[in-house]
Amino acid sequence: MKNSAHLLLALAVTLLGVVECGAPSAQITLQGSGATFPAPLYKRWFLEYYQQDHAHRVNYSPIGSGAGIRQFTAGLVGFGASDAGMSQKEIAKLPSAYGGVLLLPMTAGVIVLSYNVPGLAEPIRLSRLAYIKIFQRQITNWNDEEIAKHNPGLALPDQNITVVTRADSSGTTYAFTLHMAAVAKALGVEWAPGVDKSVAWKESIAAQGNDGVAALIQLTPGAIGYIEFGYANLTGLPMAALENRSHVFIVPDANGKSGEKALEGAEIPEDLQIEVPDPQSAEAYPIVTYTWVLSRRHYDDKSEADELKALWLHCLDDPQQRVAHELGYVRMPPQVVARLRMEIQKIAASP
């Protein structure tokens, strides 16, 4: 039996050797984490950046906007990502060594209401009142009057609506509830859950991440949930046509035009935390959000600062923006991109 012990030891040493040799010498890998909303895009960008040049290793962990902000603040990652930007309270908690935070809107996207009601020929049209009430469990059946009256051609089933929400702290939830609160105010009704990355929903089932919610909707007949357009598009989930501020029902489209219309003309604040809770345009899709990369102003390591600066500028190039469009994200207006280029230049090494 001594032989077995020797064998195991030899195996262990060999493996260690292989593992060490298989790796190029000390590579620097940049770490980021945060929102799941833009995760497919970021990871695609970073992997292709690596394929261009193996020296560019950028990791991204999609764990939700809230967790990303927390890890960014704790210094566990070099950059964060959030669909909810950062609140003043969160910014105040950042270490002074960061020199402040830069909120860089990398792309934008549309939040859709996907559902699982098989056998319908067209997307369901949901009025503003309908979707406000559905998510507050005031409408609980698919054949409810408020839904049926806008869908005369559809045979809506007599089926309970199951609301699917996020179990984790999410910028998507923030953007979604921001819109809901604005609509509720416009309609003069109550929006009980409030606006935050994590709210208390009445009677829902929950899943982790945009991907988890999409998967759960697929599994659950009669379900409806809010997810980023790309996840719905790729999983083939139907998306509801939502009534916008001008009382037009807009279907989310792969072209992104309705999303671009929504972003048009929105005011650009100093810190680039652009919010569009209830878009003006008649052709605008109603629920749209930017998504930000959170960067320190000052990095201790100059090479890290330079790497990141180069990375973000690279992501604004045409090929990368084309990929964004291909994956279903919304093109940012040129004024925002211009402001963004200037903002990225502010990344520097600590003085």
Binding site: G22, A26, K43, D211, L327
Partner: protein, 311 residues
């Protein structure tokens, strides 16, 4: 000699003492016999049903995962959104790495702790407490191991790493090794070690030269079972090692890929390609774990064979 058992049919003599076996009857028409027969049938059915889940899991994995098997699976990096191809090469290496780190920590602690329990001070009160603690730790929720390692390693070192992951896994692994080592050493006969003591060996020499070599199959069984457990855990790695999309860079203090976390991440992906990879990775992980577990069982079976022969 066993008396006639109601359902075993081997060649029986026609009489036992004064009892003529030919006169004994067993009729299913009798309620008691019928009840026994039906219970046996029910029991057999239930027992065989218990074998179904394993077959179901394996079938599911092979059906969904085997299609991706090929050299690319082992030599490429995981694909990103809407990309084709890709593989799990870095995840396999990462799993091996973190289990290795965990093994380096847990094997010495487990084996030597087991030696203490079995040999150094088996009947002491302290040993009782330690044994009890080890048994408690085998029931520790894996998420708490992750939380512990996060608080003590990740926050202290300021980074996610296979070191933190390895410590979390070691926490779950070393009690298994410790308790199995104790049992293995306890089952080594007294005579040899007493002979050694008679020749002037210290307890340490007895342990190193007699007990451990003799108990090695049992110890290795425990090690293999612990390795299998470590390779399969997800929750402890989620917050200690997170994940990496690239090949291991030689840096032990960086997020690193692993099969378990890859499976968890990709299984919920909206991209068909990534889902297929998750299945293939699941199949590979289960194969690794099954090989380790079966290896452990074969070792202990062979050891019991040898012991049977030498007695």
């Amino acid at each position: 000699m066993t008396l006639a058992n109601s359902s075993t049919a081997f060649a029986t003599p026609t009489s036992v003492g004064k009892v003529d076996l030919g006169q004994l009857e067993r009729s299913l028409r009798r309620p008691r016999t019928l009840f026994s027969f039906c219970m046996s049938a029910l029991c057999a059915l239930v027992a065989l049903l218990a074998a179904v889940p394993l077959l179901s899991v394996l079938f599911m994995l092979v059906w969904r995962g085997a299609a991706r098997f090929g050299p690319a699976l082992f030599t490429e990096l995981p694909p990103a959104a809407a990309m084709t191809g890709g593989g799990i090469g870095n995840a396999i290496i990462g799993t091996v790495l973190v289990v290795l780190v965990a093994a380096v920590i847990s094997i010495p602690v487990g084996v030597l702790g087991g030696v203490y329990l079995a040999e150094i001070n088996p009947d002491g009160a302290a040993a009782g407490v330690v044994r009890f603690s080890a048994k408690l730790l085998t029931g520790l929720p894996s998420i708490l191991a992750g939380v512990f390692a996060y608080t003590t390693v990740v926050l202290v070192t300021g980074r996610f790493s296979p070191l933190a992951g390895g410590i979390a896994l070691a926490l779950l692994m070393f009690p298994i090794i410790m308790l199995t080592t104790e049992q293995a050493i306890l089952s080594v006969g007294r005579e040899i070690s007493e002979a050694a003591v008679g020749m002037g060996a210290t307890q340490t020499q007895v342990v190193y030269q007699i007990l451990i070599p003799t108990a090695l199959p049992g110890i290795l069984t425990g090690v293999l079972l612990a390795l299998a457990r470590g390779a399969g855990e997800t929750a402890p790695l989620l917050f200690t090692m997170t994940f990496s999309d690239y090949w291991f860079s030689g840096q032990l203090m960086e997020p690193t890929a692993s099969l378990a976390v890859l499976i968890f991440n990709f299984s919920k992906s909206p991209f068909e390609n990534q889902k297929e990879i998750a299945w293939a990775a699941s199949l590979i992980l289960v194969l690794i774990v099954l090989v380790l577990t079966l290896g452990g069982r074969v070792l202990s079976w062979r050891a019991s064979q040898r012991k049977g022969a030498s007695v």
